[in-house]
Symmetry: C2
């Protein structure tokens, strides 16, 4: 590694350490040690099992118990046996606890606001850089899960996908999926599927599958967030959708794409897709098929 790269990473680490330090400082301003504040926040609006809290915050059972007693004494939380398994206990926030949690949220928002305010003319560039860093650092934690095509998050991914197409392909204007989408059922099992890639609660990619002919399905709408490019996510999404198609009983797959998306074409060629006869019109310029 170059010496100067190291200096850059160190500067980055110092900058974000200072920032998180300032945040914790502001959290202490509410008169509660950080440990207790973290538990209060982690209980969340709906309440949470104590075991669950312990796993997330990596706390010893003794310490967890004491922190909860403290929050109870403050009137912020209540802990009651879980009705389904009375050994387990469930922590919930009182009304007072809810509003205290909202205060922490507000402090958090305020810090975030302060960060963006430092780049008044480059707000979007700063956010994009933050995304790139966060997604890259979380690369190993990105996971792919089925979603409903009507879910707002799924629809947001599709909107990003169509915006990308409109940007890259001449003659396409930003299309959109009608809401409700009359085709949605085709993207749900048993006919098809819709997969979302998640990186720490935010979507970073999608792919979908719908029936085409007897025994053949079509892969549609492969999209990867710009912040997640270069991490092999497109390949993972393709593998996942192929597995899903196999599970749904399809024997082969097809897809179409456009010459303006050379990385996608290269990916298909690398992963066992072969050119096939055109089966769709504009904006498709390339057609591929793959047996399962």
């Amino acid at each position: 590694m170059r010496q100067s790269d190291l200096a850059r990473i160190r500067r980055f680490n110092r900058a974000v350490t200072r920032e998180t330090g300032a945040m914790e400082e502001s959290f202490l301003g509410r008169g509660r040690p950080l440990g207790a504040a973290r538990v209060l926040w982690a209980i969340g609006e709906e309440g949470r099992d104590v075991a669950d809290l312990r796993a997330e915050l990596a706390l010893d059972s003794g310490l967890m118990s004491r922190l909860l007693r403290g929050l109870e004494a403050e009137g912020m939380a209540e802990v009651a046996p879980d009705p389904t398994d009375r050994r387990r206990r469930r922590a919930t926030l009182t009304a007072k606890g809810q509003s205290e949690r909202a205060e922490y949220d507000r402090l958090n928002d305020q810090m975030a606001e302060g960060m963006l305010a430092r780049a008044p003319r480059h707000r979007d560039a700063l956010l994009a850089a933050m995304d790139l860093v966060a997604v890259t650092l979380n690369a190993e934690r990105i996971d792919i899960r089925p979603a409903d095509p009507a879910d707002p998050v799924a629809r947001a991914c599709l909107a990003a996908y169509f915006a990308l197409l409109a940007d890259k392909i001449d003659g396409i204007t930003a299309a959109h999926v009608p809401d409700p989408d009359p085709e949605a059922a085709k993207f749900r099992p048993p006919q098809g599927t819709f997969l979302l890639a998640w990186c720490d609660r935010l979507p970073v990619g999608c792919v979908s599958l719908k029936p085409l002919e007897e025994g053949v399905a079509e892969v549609k709408r492969l999209w990867v967030d710009p912040a997640a490019r270069g991490l092999g996510l497109a390949r993972r999404l393709m593998r996942a959708v192929e597995d899903a198609a196999r599970d749904l009983g399809y024997r082969s797959l097809k897809l179409d794409t456009n010459a303006a998306l050379p990385e996608a074409i290269a990916l298909y060629e690398r992963s066992g897709w072969a050119p096939t006869a055109p089966y769709t019109g504009f904006p498709a310029t390339h057609w591929f098929a793959k047996p399962l």
Copy 2:
């Protein structure tokens, strides 16, 4: 602020918090509490005054003293009175301390390496994003100081400047300043000056001044690191070089620039520079003057 922007910033905060947590974890692996490790590292290869250490680490005098006693007991450091002021004390690392510090350096490098390894195909993009974040968060701490034009850091800025010109202006190939630069003396007081903008130990911009005619100096080589764009740094550099010119006794300034750099031209026009007669040739296309 948009709700989704907030979610993105939160994701960023979680990602970097986890990362710094992992780093501290690895530091604890050397069997020393973080406080002591930080002091050991801050003492540095050349040693450091205790007062200096305290200011940097923001530690209470009692705590600092105890941490130093601990390091002495481990045989890592020695503290001796400062010969110039025997109230002050100077901490230095023993040979053992030096090698322990090198171990922390190695751990740091390893973590940095691990971060870059997560973006094998986008290493430079990740570094650029980290720079943007770090510089933006540090925006208020960027400061401008005179430097020697022969300093390697100054020369690195000039190299970046010429690379930028070569990239933007047709017909220019990456020029470079000869080493040693026969003109260097013109960029040093009392003839001229060379100013560097620093953001946490790394340069993020420069500007320089050299004599042109009796009572007139020329502003040259205004450069701002891409990561520091949009923070008003170019304007600050120009103000600083104008102040320096005034201090050196000049009565007016000139500069030339090229149409391929519209932001620079806009900046000059906004800050009291007026077009003037051409006084240089290619690659200049615009000439400005400003009375002081």
